[in-house]
Symmetry: C2
Amino acid sequence: MELYREPGYDKVTVAEIAARAGLTRRTFFRHFPDKREVLFFGADKLEAFVVDVVLSAPESTPALEAVAAALAAVARRSDAEPAFADFARDRHTLIRTYAELHERELGKHASLASAMAAALRRRGVTEPAASLAAEAGIAAFKVGFERWVDDPRRRKMGAHMREVMRGLGAVVLEQRTAARAASPSRTT
Amino acid sequence: MELYREPGYDKVTVAEIAARAGLTRRTFFRHFPDKREVLFFGADKLEAFVVDVVLSAPESTPALEAVAAALAAVARRSDAEPAFADFARDRHTLIRTYAELHERELGKHASLASAMAAALRRRGVTEPAASLAAEAGIAAFKVGFERWVDDPRRRKMGAHMREVMRGLGAVVLEQRTAARAASPSRTT
């Protein structure tokens, strides 16, 4: 992270990163295809973790509630490790700065959403409800994560996730009420 | 599109694309930085159009309803032009095939969501409601668009957009009801 900040993600070489970590270039490349992937290490494990929480929710749990439980579990893990918060904030600053990192992060989110939708279908949720719950959950997660990163009061990620899930409910309810008032037959 | 299919997006050169279109390479590069951007031509106009619809919704329109109106307007434009549907389906097949196109498409969606959130804030919607409405709207749009592309019955995009907006409402309502039953004080 030091080298990604100075000389900067775009300027630093893999040789420099490997040297700072006390590794050879060859060892670096055994673990990462390039310097970008260093910042996405563990994305596959995160996905497996999230899928696991979705699958292990009680049978009667509604689709979006299973998704919310998975995001709450991610937040709990993060909140339990204070060093992670500093790392995540630094990492997010980089991601906002470099388009190629931002696109990769979006790809990670899209992959998380697909994996959650598949897990919901395995729970018997039909389409489009499975994809909508997964995508809306990731949408809320993105907003909550940004708010957590930027929070001057440094509240826990879990608090932000609860707040955005409630906010999503409020926004959708407000729209449903308006749509139903405008055209009762089409909004059942 | 012919060349992107055969020899394939990854194999075709800008020189070949320019020749097929009867252009010089220089003229190609005056319009597009690379062969990827050809597939995202007009993304900035789409964004401006969507922002315009969000801003011009009646003052009392709820945030997500303004977003839904923008997505419905996009669908209407698409449905009015039958040739567009064929192009959009071919394009989407490419985007699913090549990771770099998929990431670029995700970036386009993220940019659309940010632009709509900014438009909602200009309408006086506070955060996180503005971002949640914009991101949830784009989430529904992505699901609806995929379903439209894959629809063997070839129903209109507008029908798919209405369906996913209703589906989003149903998914959120089901979760709110469950969350409220589990913990009444936290879900107001």
